[in-house]
Symmetry: C2
DNA sequence: CAACATACAAACATCGCTGTATGTTAATTC
DNA sequence: GAATTAACATACAGCGATGTTTGTATGTTG
């Protein structure tokens, strides 16, 4: 029954797809490896060959998501006179559009939002937190630049602006994913970002 | 061994306190009822006498949190010339202060943030979603009123303003609770709310 | 002060699921 | 083309926890 390397990769992919489906429907905690195996058309042996355990399987599910090119964005912001708000707003919009189009991303992020974050799954949360931290640092740096250009108005600090942006995007995504995707996230997100960035550049109030 | 009614209530309270402690430290999924029983100084028998199962225990933990007087707030907003933004900003601030002071609330909300939301725990999430929905409706109604008073500027709609407010408060609380409470949520929250409400009343931009 | 209900403790019955160890077949490797 | 090893399937061992049932002593009620 030995399969060729290409077939093995195929099997691994099938397992990931099955895990996505089963975990999404039953929840990570309540789906057994046997459930996943059946959905993938293999036995648990195959799963334990490709993945160490359930936590590893979930982690690989997360890793299977292609992440947006952050370096490319960073380079765009390098220029002295870069339009920071323009770039950030566009990037945020693109992220929401990416999520709106990619059902795999939707399901995997839903799984992660709803699963337990303690014990063996803590590594996954930490992973997400690390990425989040990097994003925050990049965002804050960008807002520092905008501030240097005299474009950050109101009582905003780079940190407060970055936090607010992240909360809005996170809130938007969480609500959309956990609540049955009952609105057009791309268009509503576009509007929300529009309003938010408008407030960043508002003049400092006198009061 | 039969205890008096007062003693029974006492036992129930001890179990809730133990559950809070144990679930917070080990996570709902990885703590056994035996763990909770030991921490409470009783046997599992006592727990199953007072609570149907683990999900019920967690739900009662959530129910043990006194919720802010929403009717009182609603009444404050009833007046024709009510200062909607002033009231909402104050209520938000008070909520953050309440959380900052109450360690039980902190631990219980942390537990709920990190636990699995599928299967038997779905009822708890639904409960929270219902409350969230009510809040959103109340918020939206309040912003409608503000709009009627001509106070809602920018490109804000009552709904978008309400959503943004909720995302900010949720983001603030989640980040604080999940990330080790590493900042002064009351003071930083106050600032964030200040900035946010300032943007609500900003004049509609010409661009 | 019976009779009953309450508030638990202790014992029981399983049971699903996990991880591993072993078996088997077919690709690779040399 | 023999030896090796990759890619699984199958069989196994064992646990840890859950919900329930039974036991029992003590409040409570009429």
């Amino acid at each position: 029954m030995r399969r060729t390397k290409a077939e093995a990769k195929e099997t691994r992919q099938q397992i990931l797809l099955a895990a996505e489906k089963v975990f999404y429907e039953k929840g990570v905690a309540h789906a057994s490896m046997e459930d996943v195996a059946r959905a993938a058309g293999v036995t648990r042996g195959a799963i334990y060959w490709h993945f160490a355990n359930r936590a590893d399987l979930v982690l690989e599910l997360y890793n299977s998501l292609p992440m947006p090119q952050e370096e490319l964005i960073a380079r765009e912001l390098e220029a002295e006179n870069a339009d920071v708000f323009g770039v950030l707003e566009r990037v945020g919009r693109e992220w929401l559009e990416l999520l709106a189009e990619d059902e795999h991303r939707q399901r995997i992020l839903s799984i992660l939002l709803r699963c337990d974050h303690t014990g063996e799954f803590a590594v996954i949360s930490e992973r997400q937190n690390d990425i989040d931290d990097e994003h925050m640092q990049a965002l804050e740096a960008a807002f520092v630049k905008a501030q240097g250009q005299g474009k950050l108005g109101g009582a905003w600090t780079p940190r407060s602006a970055a936090s607010m942006l992240r909360w809005v995007i996170k809130g938007l995504c969480s609500e959309w994913l956990l609540f049955g995707r009952r609105f057009d996230i791309a268009s509503e997100g576009k509007d929300a970002l529009r309003r938010l960035f408008a407030t960043y550049s508002a003049p400092t109030p006198s009061t």
